[in-house]
């Protein structure tokens, strides 16, 4: 059981380039999330999804886009990379069956924009 898988693990972008961070989970979780973690800080929510076809903004959505075409996949798109987007990005998922359950986090993508 792989859990939450993120790719790539590391990436360096030039200012203005675009890229997609991939996230897939094999636990049939309906809720999925993207967080970013700046050095020495806690995580901030970028976008989240409560099911296929449904997404919504979190605390820091500017500069990012998401889509959720399947239950398993929740990619995060950076259209015009900026140095302020240098961060570690974590994808997470949760089942949310009515009881509050813990989030399962992926291993993270370390992104540098130069």
């Amino acid at each position: 059981n792989a859990g939450v898988t993120q790719t790539p693990k590391f990436r360096i972008l030039k200012i203005g380039q675009s890229m997609t961070l991939q996230c897939t989970q094999d636990m049939n979780h309906n809720y999925m999330y993207w967080y970013r973690q700046d050095p020495g800080m806690g995580l901030k929510l970028i976008y989240y999804s409560v099911g296929a076809g449904i997404t919504d903004k979190g605390e820091v959505p500017n500069g990012y886009n998401v889509s959720r075409s399947t239950t398993e996949d929740f990619p995060l798109r950076l259209e015009l990379a900026a140095p302020s987007q240098t961060s570690v990005y974590f994808c997470a998922s949760s089942k949310m069956t009515g009881d509050w359950e813990k989030l399962f986090f992926g291993s993270g993508t370390q992104l540098s924009v130069l």
């Binding site: 995580l43 989240y48 974590f90 989030l103 986090f105």
Partner: protein, 111 residues
């Protein structure tokens, strides 16, 4: 706007000692989470606290929640080196697990 503050941000302690990490939050919530993060790694869920007075324990770690005081504590008993990590609390006030995280407490336990 929900704010979550942890205290202390850095903690260096000796093995065998007891200590407490505090997590204060600014608006009413009865759902609080504790996570552990090792350097360069992802987050590992430790505890989910869902009601006032909730107490959960795992090994040398015990977490509690006082929703009236908007305070959670993570107590470490007889610390061992393996507990060295950064600990985060996070609060969910929306019901969709849209968590707001504290800054983290970097805990170093010296032999």
């Amino acid at each position: 706007e929900l704010k979550v503050e942890q205290n202390p941000l850095f903690l260096s302690m000796q093995e065998g000692k007891n200590y407490t990490i505090y997590c204060n939050y600014s608006t009413t919530s009865d759902r609080l989470y504790w996570y552990r993060q090792d350097p360069g790694k992802s987050l590992e869920s430790l505890f989910v606290l869902l009601s006032n007075g909730a107490v959960k324990q795992e090994g040398r770690l015990m977490a509690s929640l006082d929703t009236k005081a908007r305070l959670s504590t993570l107590h470490i008993t007889a610390a061992v080196h393996d507990l060295s990590a950064t600990y985060f609390c996070a609060v969910d006030m929306t019901g969709a697990q849209k968590l707001v995280f504290g800054q983290g407490t970097r805990l170093t336990i010296n032999p």
